[in-house]
Amino acid sequence: MKSLFASLFSGLLFGVGLAIAGMTSPEKVLGFLDFAGSWDASLAFVMAAAIAVHLPLSALIRRRSSPLFDTRFHVPSSRTIDRPLVLGSALFGVGWGLAGVCPGPALVDLATGATPIVVFVGAMVVGMLIQHATVGQSESQHSITIVPQGPNAPVSQDISLADH
């Protein structure tokens, strides 16, 4: 129960942060990505501030043996740069640059019920389902490990759907 509330509250806080930051406005996001045009640099501060806060906090938190409401951390350990990562990120970027919307802000904006957002979220889910259905059929065999696995490399990787 506690973990449910923690998830809910984290999502709520995250969503409010996105809105305050201006990320929930597609036009503002596109203005930030429009480097060649009238560039709105303010959104650079969003990621910078988020990292400035999360970087030290996450380092401190990960010193614990476990999180508060779970027996262990679910943090990805893969360090391999492979083709799905690069291709997926590239495609994601194109989509983001097309409409100025990414998953988090889309969920917040969904509350407005605006047709473009509903269409986006629907299409996003379809896109995810397509990827789930095609996984394993095009897994890249070529990967470049840029960081060698040290003696402390974990024996088993957490292949849950955490971003890695």
Binding site: G11, F14, G95, A114
Partner: protein
């Protein structure tokens, strides 16, 4: 750009960082939105309710803002509807293929010095900027 221009984005960003830290402290998970959404549609996934709660939180944030400060939420976009559909497909497919998006890779991954996330973030920032460039300055679709 003035100090005031950077103020709200910084404040919002700090809140995002805080939210991600809270999720990590409580449930030990990376605050990657695409991962949470994607997991909802897998046949067998543990902690499905927990994932739904996270996603619901975002929606609730939107509802709350709709009630207390609707000006923060977008009212319109010059992007055509079909572009939102194509964008959604690419964002959905791409984020799952690349195992992350702006929150998971950009905020959480970079905070962990993850090489994968650094590469992912640079990549999607690059293609996003390129896409905007092509749409606005090559194809001339002005906002």
């Amino acid at each position: 750009m003035t100090f005031r221009d950077a103020l709200l984005p910084s404040a919002g960003g700090a809140l995002i960082g805080l939210a991600a830290s809270l999720l990590l402290l409580t449930n030990g998970r990376i605050a990657g939105v695409s991962g949470y959404v994607g997991a909802l549609f897998l046949p067998s996934v543990p902690h499905r309710l927990e994932r739904l709660a996270f996603v619901l939180g975002f929606f609730l944030a939107g509802l709350t803002l709709l009630l207390i400060e609707p000006s923060v939420l977008p009212t319109g976009s010059s992007t055509p509807l079909w572009a939102f559909a194509v964008a959604g497909l690419l964002v959905g497919y791409g984020s799952r293929l690349g195992n992350g998006c702006t929150s998971g890779h950009g905020v959480c991954g970079i905070s962990r010095f993850s090489p994968r996330s650094i590469v992912a973030t640079l990549t999607f920032m690059g293609t996003a900027a390129l896409t905007v460039f092509v749409v606005r300055h090559v194809l001339g679709a002005t906002p």
